[in-house]
Structures are given as structure tokens and as C-alpha cells.
């Protein structure tokens, strides 16, 4: 294992290094980049959910003053294969979902492009569509792998037999609706064909990945595509992979031979920038009379589109959370005429832990055991499926510390606490997220004046990554922060992994530490003297990652909710929420707290508000704006707090860090749902916990 970094700046609540730039409006986001002779592109979206484009009549649109081109399958440039049919824009006439891009207008202004897009007449051969996920759908099948490459099914022992024979059991179905990521900044791209290649100012979570994919599509050398994304206004996974909007910008710019801007509208984000699949999850738990688990069975049904197989890894959390001799996890998928689902903050763990942790609460009730004690009684010694040692596992400490901080002992019997119209209740749920780390490279240079510049194609999507990486670099170099500048968001920099899987800080930080150490060695070879033209070192983490022992590396946490439910209306409000996490060393407590309470806020939102409603007749999501797609408003978040335990884990990376971007949203919805049960004695097993569902349950 590589030696740990001695923390100096790491662990301090440094304010964001780019805060001033952002507050002053000087931080430029994708759409704010300009080039000579800018043109604008607006897509034409399919108004059928399944079929073929028969013909496009562009005459009216082309007649508009300022319209430069109308693009569709018949006149679009041919693209190479990037292995993602969602990106094969205009390569066929086939329509896989309502809202898919089937044409586009390029014009002198955004207004003209948008107006003319409405004048493009598209004739279709329409086929009947099938857009509704249901548990008994005849076309459900077992995908080979689930996202990104986990086996679909795992099993051990005889869960069915154990459940049939158990003293206490739970067998319930939980559902979650489709959720949309909705980062504040919609997807945007400025595409410029220049210097014999393509420059994209793009709102992305991974500049290196976009550059590779776009190079394949346009049959360019990777070095001919440069993706620049210094600032990104959120992504939550929806910018983790290139979306059709970036391909559209590049196509349009090639067709009109000018720089082109594409801005995605909020409504368009409900069609082609990804979302979390709805899930139907059957949870079966069996325990002895003391609550010791004898079996865990977690089966999830979910959807994908006809363009691409995306199988959310919903049930995998049940592979490592609790000990039980008999176990099963499985996923079933159906391809429907729907938009392509994709990553949304903690894909898999987020919906899966809602179901598992709700079922655990039901088991606690059935066994007459406190839900915290139930979880502690089922702590595994090693990974319950593969026997690996945990590099660190502090779920119990999170539960214990959280219970004390939250005042768990004041929790009453279900339906027991009433104050006027309001029924009060408390709930708890565990959180977990894998401590992923992906290969990345970094370069660091020392100038003759002693200043250091780190370069890495990492992304700061509002998380504070730029700040945390600056702290890591300073400590690795053992110099004051002021001497270090970290430059990110450019595919021209050393290749970095995507800002996803809560892996950014660990993956990129390790690359930076290795590069910094290499530079210090070089510097030592120069007797500590910096040559006139400086010194530079680069390093990658592939070898380091291969050399690590195979361990079970996960972060854990415990979330507590105190809710009130209006007995007359069924309205649920969260009075108090606490999360306690064990996620290795926390690099920056200020931005970490922001990540954790941000995730928890999103979890409350998932529990109570968020829901993308599929229109069976038309095949699109009906509520496609933020007035209709409810997220938690400020008034919905009353008291919220996050703490963490000092977890030392030397088997992760030189910083000793696990990721914190996603764990905050994992388990929150279950904690809220469990609190609603404690308040009312009613169990709502379908998210969101709307007032009508509370009244009906």
C-alpha cells in the first residue's frame, strides 16, 4: 500500500477555491462560452413513442429568415459506432421513444431556431407502444450483467425453504417511480470545428469520456477532440455519459460549418438526458425469534429502452448489508418504448436500500425488536457473499452515535404520539455505498518561481472537487495551499475517470498524490533546485489499483427521521433529519457536509415528492417541468444535519478517503417511510409517500 498522506490542509474546512469566481458570475459554464460566428441549434422531438419517421417537410422552417439548416435522417452526416444507440443521432428513421431527437434546426439565433423547430412537419408511421413497467410484464428477462458489470443474480443456500420455515418473516413489494436528475444547469454544449478537430465546451461529469466517445462517433483521433468543462452546474449522474445534445451540437456545427450552441430545455431533460428507472422490488426476509436473519431475498423488476440496455443494480446492496445463511438477489428487465434510463445519484443502492431498509423495519416490528438492535444483531463479520474482509465497516458505530445524537430513546409505539392534528414518529435506516476507485492520471509541474500547477481532466460538478484536490495536492507536496493551483475540466489534461460512483476524490486524489511524489523525487534529483523551465511529473493509478488486496470496501451510515403527519389530510412533513456516516477520512468538512445534507435532502425529496408520471396513452413523462415535478422546497427541509465518525482506513488510498457524493441519498427514503409508519401505524410501500397514499393505507 502506498504511504498515507500526512494531513495538514486535508481535514480543514477550506472555503471553495472557486467560490469568489462563482459568486461574481465569472465562472463560465458551457453555454457561456462564445466563438466567432455563433449559430444556434434546437432539436425537433418525436411526437410518437414508437415507429418510423416517414418524411420531414422542412419548407416552412427553411423559409424563416435566419434559418441555416434543417437536419434529419436523410441529410445528416454519417456517424461512426460508439456502442450507444442513444447517440446515433439521425442514423436511422426509427423512433424508440416520444421526445427522441428526430430533427434539428440551426439558425442565427436561439429564438429563430426554436420557432422554426416548431414549423418542421414530421410525418410518421406510428406503431402501438408499450411504456408501462409492471411486475407481470411478459417480456421481463434476466440481463447478463447489471450496471456497470455486476452479475445479475447471486444466491446461496435455500432462501425459499428458510423463509417457509422461519419464526418471523416479511414478504412485501415496494415500488419506486421514475425519477429525473434535474441538475440546476441543463445540458449545454458549444461545438467548434477548428484546428483540424473539434472543440466542445460541454456541461459534463467526465471530459475524457466525452472526448473518447465523440472521437469514435466522428471518426477522429482521440487527440482531435477537446472537451472543456471548467464549471458544471450539477449532474447527479445525468452528465456522466455524453447525451444526444452534445452529439447534436457537433453535427450541427459540421453541417453549417460554424460554431453552434445547444441548450437543453428543462422539458427536454425529461426525454433524453436520462432518469432513474422505476422499480418493483419484492423483499423477503426471514428471521429466528430473536431477529437473527435466516434469509434475505431481494428481487427487482425495472425497465430499459429499446435503444440501449441499462440494468440498474437495484438489489446489489442486499449482497453485503447483513449476514444470513440463505440469500438471493436478482434483477429482471423489460425493454419498453420509453426514454433510456441511466445513472441518478447512487444508482442501485438508492432505490434498493429504500426497499431493503423498509423491509428491515417491518421485520423489526414483526419480531418485536428495536430496529437499531435488529441491524446490529445482523452485522456480518466478512462480506456475506464472497467472504472478503471489510477494509473498514462502522455501521454499528453510526447507528449507536446517531441514536444518541437524535434522541432515539424518545421514539414511541406506532401511532402513539399526537399533538393536535399532527401525529409524530421517528424512523431509522442504514446507508451504504461502495468505495469505488477508478484509474486516472495526473500531471504536476513546478515553475521556477516555486508555484505548482496540477492538471487532471477531473470535473467539479458543484461538489467542491477542485477545492478538495487542491488540499490533497498541497499536502502531498508538503507546501502551503497558496502555492498550488489545480486545473481540471479539460480533456487535454491527463485522462481522468468520470465524476461518478462517488469515486472522484479517491481516484483523482490518488493520481495527484502519485504525481506529486514523482515530482518531489525529480526535484530531489535536481538537488532541490528548480530548473529555469520548471519540472513536470505525471503518474497514473492503474498499477496502484491492481496492487491493492481484494477487500470489501464500502462506506456506511445511519439516517434518522422525525416526521409529522397531518391526521386529517395525510400531509407528511419531515421535522428533523440526521445522518451519521463512516466514510474514511473527510478531506474537507465544509464541502463534505454540503454533499451529505444535499444527498439527504434529495432523499427526503424522493421519499415525499419526486415522481415522473408516465403517460400511458402518449408514452412520455407528463410532468416535465419543476412546477409539476416536485422536488423538496426549502420549506420542506426544516432541521437537517450530518455528522461522521473518525474512520481510519489505510487500505483505500493515500488519503484514506471513501466517497461521499452518493451515500447521503441512500437510506433516507426508508428512514422517512419508517418514521411515517411509527407516526401513523400505516405502511406506505410505494414512493412517493403522497398524502392520498397515507390516507388510503
Amino acid at each position: 500500500m502506498t504511504a498515507p498522506v500526512l494531513p495538514r490542509s486535508v481535514g480543514t474546512p477550506l472555503a471553495r477555491v472557486d467560490a469568489r469566481e462563482k459568486v461574481m458570475g465569472q465562472a463560465r459554464y458551457a453555454y457561456e462560452h462564445h466563438a466567432e460566428g455563433m449559430a444556434y441549434c434546437h432539436p425537433v422531438q418525436a411526437t410518437i413513442a414508437s415507429g418510423e419517421v416517414q418524411d420531414v417537410d422542412a419548407s416552412e422552417a427553411l423559409a424563416c429568415e435566419g434559418v441555416l439548416a434543417v437536419i434529419w435522417a436523410e441529410n445528416a452526416p454519417a456517424l461512426g459506432d460508439a456502442g450507444d444507440d442513444e447517440l446515433a443521432l439521425f442514423q436511422s428513421r426509427s423512433v424508440a421513444y416520444r421526445g427522441q431527437i428526430v430533427g434539428a434546426v440551426v439558425a442565427e439565433s436561439l429564438e429563430i431556431a426554436r420557432d422554426a423547430a416548431g414549423l418542421v412537419r414530421v410525418a410518421y408511421d406510428e406503431r402501438p407502444h408499450d411504456v408501462m413497467l409492471r411486475a407481470e410484464h411478459p417480456e421481463l428477462y434476466a440481463p447478463e450483467k447489471v450496471n456497470p458489470s455486476f452479475p445479475n443474480e447471486t444466491g446461496r443456500g435455500d432462501p425459499d425453504g428458510a423463509i417457509a420455515a422461519a419464526a418471523v418473516s416479511v414478504d412485501e413489494t415496494f415500488t419506486t417511480p421514475a425519477f429525473h436528475n434535474n441538475p440546476m444547469e441543463p445540458h449545454a454544449t458549444v461545438a467548434v470545428w477548428e484546428h483540424g478537430g473539434l472543440t466542445l465546451y460541454d456541461s459534463t461529469q467526465g471530459a475524457s469520456g466525452v472526448a473518447s466517445t465523440i472521437a469514435k462517433l466522428f471518426e477522429l483521433e482521440p487527440a482531435q477532440v477537446r472537451v472543456i468543462s471548467p464549471h458544471v452546474g450539477g449532474g447527479f449522474g445525468s452528465k456522466g455519459l455524453p447525451r444526444p445534445s452534445v452529439v447534436l451540437a457537433a453535427i450541427a456545427a459540421r453541417v453549417v460549418e460554424r460554431a453552434v450552441k445547444v441548450a437543453t430545455t428543462r422539458q427536454q431533460m425529461f426525454a433524453y438526458t436520462g432518469y432513474r428507472t422505476p422499480t418493483i422490488q419484492r423483499l423477503r426476509l426471514a428471521a429466528d425469534a430473536e431477529g437473527r436473519l435466516q434469509a434475505i431475498s431481494h428481487e427487482a423488476s425495472e425497465q430499459t429502452s429499446r435503444l440501449k440496455e441499462y440494468a440498474e443494480q437495484t438489489a446489489i446492496c442486499s449482497r453485503w448489508m447483513y449476514a444470513a445463511p440463505n440469500r438471493r438477489t436478482a434483477h429482471r428487465l423489460v425493454a419498453l418504448d420509453v426514454p433510456t434510463p441511466s445513472w441518478l445519484r447512487a444508482p442501485g443502492e438508492c432505490p434498493g436500500m429504500y426497499a431493503l431498509e423498509s423491509a428491515m423495519d417491518e421485520l423489526a416490528v414483526a419480531a418485536g425488536v428495536d430496529p437499531i438492535e435488529l441491524r446490529i444483531a445482523n452485522e456480518p463479520e466478512v462480506h456475506p457473499e464472497n467472504g472478503s474482509r471489510f477494509s473498514s465497516r462502522n455501521l454499528v458505530a453510526c447507528l449507536r452515535q446517531g441514536a444518541e445524537r437524535f434522541g432515539w430513546e424518545r421514539r414511541g409505539e406506532p401511532g402513539g404520539r399526537r399533538d393536535g392534528r399532527w401525529l409524530h414518529g421517528m424512523g431509522v435506516a442504514a446507508s451504504t455505498y461502495p468505495a469505488y476507485q477508478m484509474p486516472s492520471q495526473a500531471a504536476v509541474r513546478i515553475r521556477h518561481d516555486g508555484g505548482y500547477v496540477v492538471r487532471i481532466a477531473a470535473a467539479d460538478i458543484g461538489t467542491g472537487a477542485r477545492t478538495a484536490l487542491t488540499q490533497i495536492a498541497a499536502d502531498a507536496l508538503e507546501v502551503p495551499l497558496e502555492q498550488v493551483v489545480v486545473r481540471i475540466g479539460d480533456s487535454g489534461f491527463p485522462r481522468a475517470s468520470v465524476a461518478g460512483g462517488s469515486s472522484g476524490t479517491a481516484s483523482w486524489g490518488t493520481a495527484i498524490v502519485l504525481a506529486c511524489r514523482a515530482l518531489r523525487e525529480q526535484l530531489a534529483e535536481h538537488g532541490g533546485e528548480v530548473p529555469a523551465d520548471g519540472l513536470e511529473a505525471t503518474a497514473g493509478t492503474a498499477e496502484f489499483l491492481k496492487s491493492r488486496e481484494q477487500l470489501a470496501r464500502y462506506a456506511f451510515g445511519a439516517q434518522f427521521a422525525d416526521v409529522r403527519v397531518d391526521a386529517s389530510s395525510g400531509e407528511v412533513r419531515v421535522s428533523r433529519m440526521l445522518g451519521v456516516f463512516a466514510a474514511g477520512r473527510i478531506i474537507n468538512p465544509r464541502t463534505a457536509r454540503s454533499q451529505l445534507i444535499g444527498g439527504m435532502t434529495m432523499g427526503i425529496s424522493m421519499a415525499l415528492h419526486e415522481e415522473s408520471v408516465m403517460d400511458a396513452a402518449y408514452g412520455d413523462f407528463v410532468n416535465k417541468d419543476l412546477a409539476q415535478y416536485h422536488i423538496a422546497a426549502c420549506a420542506d427541509i426544516e432541521q437537517i444535519d450530518a455528522h461522521w465518525i473518525d474512520e481510519t482506513d489505510d487500505e483505500l488510498n493515500p488519503m484514506g478517503s471513501k466517497g461521499i457524493g452518493e451515500i447521503g441519498i441512500v437510506g433516507t427514503a426508508a428512514a422517512v417511510a419508517n418514521a411515517v409508519f411509527n407516526a401513523t401505524g400505516r405502511r406506505v410501500r410505494d414512493l412517493p409517500i403522497r398524502l392520498d397514499r397515507v390516507l388510503a393505507s
Binding site: T47, E111, R114, D115, G118, R421, D566, S568, S569, G570, E571, R573, L608, H609, V613, D615, A616, A617, Y618, V622, N623, K624, D625, A627, Q628, H630, A632, A633, C634, A635, D636, R690, L691, D692, L695, A696
Partner: protein, 326 residues
């Protein structure tokens, strides 16, 4: 966005003259709903007549001890007005239950009354909607209608009126002053908004070119207790699933008079006259409140996914009446 002409009027007569009764003209005040609808191309006006400079921003004593509120008064200003807070607290509550602080700072009283339904199909020009394109059909009836009407809807339209303020005004029995190409007139609330019938494209009885210049509130002593309750899917910035505005006058242990209006249930702010009639003379209590609610809700015709609104309204009306009469 489609090109349009923009004119700024300096008095009501000039505004009416500019609009000229043309179908393609729209008055623009706060623009919080109209401009959104223009972006969606639900509204494609040829002419916007800006009415923000008409001096309609005063709140003055009205006839018989009431208040006269200029149509250009912002929602924030009306909610903050001392006379409103003291004499019509349910109106202040209703206003503050609506939208967000930023929206209330620009949205006006006249515009609030005339805002359009938030039915998803009305707002999506790629789908049919009888309100937007008469005769094209109503996908909401079989589609997404969880928060649409249970009272007074028609085959053609199941939309709801989204305003909170209008529900309080319906309970108070306010009237609107209107200036139009054919002169001035006064229209009561309820009465301004219409049920959809087979003309859902008409939200109100206003004729093309008519401009609301003021809202008049009659003196109503029993409105002196705050009693606007809004049930919604999140704590703020959501339209009502159901709302109730209630005023009760008790005498000798019985209800002498009362006002009840309901929101989120119909194409209009729904004055619950049957419930009022049932409650008058009754001894306040759970039974009387329940009977009043049942009298009104007997006419409910819920759709597939909004039947919950009927028992929900009953619950909320009963508990609000209980609080007001306590």
C-alpha cells in the same frame, strides 16, 4: 418564442383602446403565468398591452366599510396590507399560501384571478386539449388527472382553477370592476369564472378586451378570523390539492351565518353554498360539519385517480370548521 408587438398603456381607457377587443391581444401585468405560457407557445399573442402603469396599485376604503383593491396591487402588497390582515385574514393567508415570495412580488391581483389551469395537457402543445385547441379532445380524463377536478367538470374539460386568492375572494363574496370596449361593469366572484361545459376555452365571463381594474371586498365581520387551509404535496410552492376558506358567525351556540369556499376541486373557485345552507342554524360540532361537507360533496364526480379528494375535502373542511368554531 413567436414574435409579438408590445405596447405600454398609461390609463385604463387607453389600454382597452390598444387591445381593441382583438382576440390576439393580451394584457400583461406581472406576467408570471402569461410569459411562461408564451415560452411554451400555449399563448401566442400578437399584441401585449402592458398595464403596469395604469395607477391601479392602491388599496382604499370601499363602499359600506369594505375595501377597494386596485387590480395592479401585487400579491405581496395585498397580503401585507394592515386592513387586509385585520379584516380579511383568510385573504392574507390564501395569498401567502400561493406561489413563492419572488412570484408574489410581481404577480398582481388581476392576473392572479385570470391565471390559467396547470393541467399538464393544457401546457403541452404536442397533445390535444379542448381548452387550448377547442374540439381536439381531453387526454386528462383518461390520463394524468390526480390533481384535477371532482366538481362541476364536463366531458370536454376536467381542469381546475389554480388560484388560492380567488378561493378566499369567493368566500368573502368579492366583486370585480371591469372596463371594456363596451364600458364598465361589475362581476361577482363567484360568477367571474365559469364551469367548462362545452366551451372550456373560456375560463371566465370576460369578453375580449375587458380589463379588470379593481377588486371590491364587502364588509364581512365574520371574516375576521383566519381560516384558509391549503393542503398540498409539499410545504410551499405547490398548487392546492384542496383548499378551504371558511368564515362562521355564531349566535346563541348556533351558526347564524357562514361562508365556505373550496379550491383545487373545480374549474372555478367553488363557493360551497349547499354546505353553507346545511350549516346555517346548526349547532357546531363534528356531526354538523360532516353533514355540511357531505351536502356539498354529494355532487362530486371523481375521476379514476382523484377520488381521494372527496374524503380529503371532507376531512379538511370538518377539521377547519372545528378550529374556527372552537
Amino acid at each position: 418564442m413567436r414574435p409579438f408587438a408590445y405596447e405600454r398603456a398609461t390609463d385604463a381607457a387607453a389600454a382597452v383602446a390598444l387591445a381593441g377587443g382583438a382576440e390576439g391581444a393580451r394584457y400583461l401585468a406581472g406576467g408570471t403565468n402569461l410569459v411562461d405560457l408564451m415560452k411554451l407557445e400555449v399563448e401566442t399573442p400578437e399584441l401585449l398591452v402592458d398595464v403596469r402603469d395604469l395607477g391601479m396599485d392602491a388599496i382604499e376604503p370601499g363602499e359600506g366599510g369594505g375595501l377597494r383593491v386596485g387590480a395592479g396591487v401585487t400579491n405581496s402588497a395585498l397580503a401585507a396590507d394592515r386592513a387586509v390582515r385585520e379584516r380579511y385574514p383568510m385573504l392574507a393567508q390564501a395569498l401567502l399560501a400561493g406561489a413563492s415570495g419572488q412570484l408574489r412580488n410581481v404577480a398582481t391581483v388581476g392576473g392572479n384571478l385570470l391565471q390559467r389551469t396547470r393541467c399538464a395537457y393544457f401546457q403541452d402543445v404536442t397533445k390535444p386539449c379542448n381548452k387550448r385547441r377547442p374540439g381536439s379532445g381531453c387526454p386528462a380524463r383518461e390520463g394524468e388527472h390526480r390533481n384535477l377536478a371532482v366538481l362541476g367538470h364536463s366531458q370536454a374539460c376536467v381542469a381546475t382553477h389554480p388560484s388560492d386568492m380567488a378561493v378566499a375572494l369567493a368566500a368573502i363574496g368579492a366583486t370585480v370592476r371591469v372596463v371594456g370596449p363596451r364600458g364598465e361593469r361589475t362581476i361577482p366572484i363567484p360568477g367571474l369564472h365559469r364551469l367548462p361545459g362545452d366551451e372550456p376555452e373560456r375560463d371566465t365571463v370576460l369578453e375580449p378586451g375587458e380589463l379588470i381594474v379593481a377588486v371590491e371586498l364587502p364588509a364581512l365581520p365574520m371574516a375576521g378570523r383566519p381560516a384558509y387551509r391549503k393542503v398540498r404535496d409539499r410545504a410551499s410552492y405547490a398548487f392546492a390539492v384542496v383548499s378551504v376558506a371558511v368564515a362562521v358567525e355564531l349566535e346563541d351556540g348556533a351558526v347564524r351565518d357562514c361562508r365556505i369556499a373550496l379550491g383545487g376541486l373545480a374549474h372555478v373557485p367553488w363557493r360551497a353554498e349547499r354546505a353553507e345552507a346545511a350549516l346555517r342554524g346548526a349547532v357546531p360540532g363534528e356531526d354538523a360539519f360532516g353533514a355540511a361537507a357531505d351536502a356539498e360533496l354529494a355532487a362530486a364526480e371523481p375521476l379514476r385517480d382523484n377520488a381521494f379528494k372527496v374524503p380529503l375535502t371532507r376531512n379538511v373542511l370538518v377539521s377547519t370548521l372545528a378550529e374556527v368554531c372552537a
